[in-house]
């Protein structure tokens, strides 16, 4: 159970190579944005981390619903794993946004609706992970976490639509028609790369969760 499987190695190496390729294309091949200059190259890491955070929290939501219906601890382990990785991606999204914001807007941070709702998203899922530490009983812990995982997901569409609903400094969602084909393809390549990284980390994190569950059971059994 603790060793890496062939598919895990394959996904890991593919993710590493795709990240390297996506970075080379994003930093060197695709031209700089006409308005923002080279700092726009941060988009090729900022947007994929944001999308992967959304995907991670969607999985937490689905697994939480499944857990409450079936009470199968495997769903709880997948939800916990995805939440932890989602927190990493959300923190990266915020940090990268600040690095893009400083030269573009002149400030590291502003209480803009997109930034504020994303900070709330991070707080919700840090809370989700903290709640898991409060309960010793695995069943109670999984139930509490599932409730937070379901309610907390309500903030994801709010983050996405914040740039549509409110007046904001952050640019509105781009569409394939609003960006040049070379920017779009570079973004898609990096999105694929980060999706592979997410898949790889999920495989490893769920394997670790299973191992931790086994240890918890053994410790409880031996007193």
């Amino acid at each position: 159970m603790a060793s890496k499987s062939g598919i895990e190695r394959f996904v890991g190496w593919t993710a590493l190579l795709t990240i390297a390729g996506g970075s080379v294309v994003g930093l060197r091949v695709v031209p700089a944005d006409a308005a923002m200059g080279d700092v726009q190259r941060l988009m090729y890491v900022h947007v994929p981390t944001a999308w992967l955070a959304f995907l991670a929290f969607l999985l937490v939501f689905v697994m939480s619903v499944l857990y409450l219906i079936q009470r199968d601890p495997r769903w709880d382990r997948v939800a916990a794993s995805s939440a932890e990785i989602g927190v990493v991606f959300t923190a990266l999204t915020l940090a990268l946004g600040m690095m893009w914001g400083k030269p573009t807007w002149g400030v590291w941070w502003t209480w803009d609706p997109r930034l504020t709702t994303t900070a709330i998203l991070l707080a919700i899922y840090v809370g989700y992970l903290a709640i898991r530490g409060f309960a010793d009983d695995p069943e109670k812990r999984a139930r509490w976490a599932a409730v937070v995982g379901i309610i907390g997901f309500a903030n994801v569409p709010i983050v996405y639509l914040s740039v549509v609903w409110w007046r904001t400094l952050h640019q509105p969602p781009s569409s394939p028609r609003s960006v040049s084909p070379e920017i779009l393809w570079t973004l898609m390549l990096n999105l694929a790369a980060f999706t592979l990284v997410y898949a790889y980390l999920m495989m490893r994190r769920t394997r670790l969760a299973a191992l931790e569950g086994k240890l918890e059971q053994r410790v409880a059994y031996h007193g």
């Binding site: 603790a2 990240i19 060197r28 200059g37 990493v88 923190a91 940090a95 980390l201 191992l211 240890l215």
Partner: protein, 71 residues
């Protein structure tokens, strides 16, 4: 002193290559671009390494438990 891991060495080399390239290409705001990409690569490598350490610690605890409880 702890030995640097392969991931750390790869990350440091990638940062050096990026800095040399961005400086040579006269990239505007290159400090932000280098910091952004460096932070992203570094965070992902740090997290993967952290999973390794946690898995090793958990496996070690399971083995110790098996030894003390006679298998």
């Amino acid at each position: 002193m702890a030995k640097p891991t392969l991931g750390f060495v790869v990350w440091a080399l990638a940062l050096i290559v990026l800095t040399v390239y961005a400086t040579g290409a006269g990239m505007q705001n290159r400090g932000f671009v280098i910091a952004g990409y460096g932070l992203t690569w570094g965070t992902l490598l740090w997290y993967a390494r952290r999973l390794d350490r946690r898995a090793a610690a958990t496996k070690g605890a399971l083995d110790r438990l098996a030894e003390t409880s006679g298998g």
